[in-house]
Subunit: 191 residues, 3 copies
């Protein structure tokens, strides 16, 4: 059995910051207080704070409570897009979201992975979500991918490859896999 990769020697994630320590520390405190905070109800204030920390956000964007953004200075959003409750933009790399895009409750968009066969170094790749896309609730979008114009990602789907424009993309549907009380149908026959 191969020995595990020593995580103490894994190349750190600090080079992904692209900002100084105090700036990143300030963001680590401001984000939970003014962006993620469920009691902060103002979308306008949320967008304003993101812009102050470097996000390039268009007009008419609606950002709901619970939104999380890793590095606003690597975030670009077009016009009129909606960022829903508990959407988690874990953008250690550049994340470009177009106009008229909807990202629904609890979806997780992450640009990062680790070099899992060598040294577990952080690897990041940008993500492009084109105009008119709807990423529904609890989807996961991985680094390096492009979601084409008007595409729709179904709930709880992991996206591991590019999604073509206009496509509806989802995982296999659930199904009945068994019976809870095997004797139940008998009982209904009153035997």
């Amino acid at each position: 059995m191969r020995a595990p990769i020593n995580l103490a020697a894994a190349p750190g994630s600090r080079e992904a910051w692209d900002r100084g320590f105090l700036w990143v520390l300030a963001w680590a405190l401001v984000e939970p207080l003014l962006v993620r905070n469920a009691l902060q109800l103002s979308s306008r204030a949320r967008v304003g704070v993101l812009r102050m920390f470097g996000a390039n956000i268009g007009e008419g964007v609606i950002a709901r409570p619970g939104l999380r953004v890793r590095f606003p200075w690597k975030l670009e959003v077009g016009d009129r897009s909606w960022l829903g409750e508990d959407v988690w933009l874990h953008n250690q790399d550049r994340l470009v979201i177009g106009s008229d895009v909807v990202i629904s409750q609890g979806s997780f968009i992450t640009t990062g992975t680790h070099a899992f066969r060598t040294d577990m170094a952080l690897r990041t790749r940008p993500i492009h979500i084109h105009d008119g896309v709807w990423i529904t609730s609890r989807a996961v979008i991985l680094g390096g991918l492009t979601i084409g114009q008007n595409a729709l990602v179904l709930p709880n789907t992991v996206v591991r490859r590019d999604v073509p424009a206009n496509a509806i993309f989802g995982a296999q549907d659930g199904a009945v896999v068994g019976q809870r009380f095997p004797d139940s149908s008998d009982e209904t026959q009153d035997r």
Copy 2:
């Protein structure tokens, strides 16, 4: 390529409120403080607050910290049911939960969708969860569906169709899809 749907013209969600602005605003503040709040440990207080805002909840219901409810005035729960930690009832429409129902950690029940081929208008449909159902952790239940008596929904399953009574409903199991270190088995043979 078809132009994206203009979200600024999408019919708003306010008609789903069925209550005035100040009532909905009050709920938006009370819910994080007294229902969702992890430090609010009292199930009795949680149920009491939900009832004050219009929920119809039976006797002996246990509601855990982290519970989220969109509109308590559209929520009905029978007797002795358990609403677990971080359960998210996003009920913009009527949600009827029976008696002796368990909903486990992090499940998301949402009555809403959008008219994704026309104008992205909010569309809501009620959900009925019958007596004795167990929705396990991190499941997603979509609008318009009925979960039949005593049914069981497995973890992380998206439910997109009605579930019959007594059924165990789940998605396909995971499986081994590759090897992390391709040379690893060689090493264990000490070649």
Copy 3:
């Protein structure tokens, strides 16, 4: 139709505590304030609090904000492991995590289930996660399982059986399942 199981008579979960009421109550308050809290940025303090409540944690472990631990007195972690943001260790039973293990954002590890065909009693079974494992984001690991050395669990995967050492374990990939605007290709041909 069989009558639902009466939840008021379901054997309670208190026997899983293995500690007195005041100890568990103290933990229920300390955990959200000093471990889960997004504004508590210190990994060292997080690990220190877990140890104070009985966790056996090695050297060089990094524990991120949002981490949740049910019972630290049933948690064992080796050296240099990383516990990511919003990782939820719902360990009502013993959870053993080895060295150089990564558990990424939002994964949920739960030792518990219910006797769903008899009385819905809480049933817990320990979980063993061996050295060098990477559980990526939003996975779910169920009670009684062993994740073998160096195994890798893909995002959003539910693990319902033991995972062999060195395996990459995942669910079926998503796919294009339809077209959003059926007439879209026509339009691009300008007919």
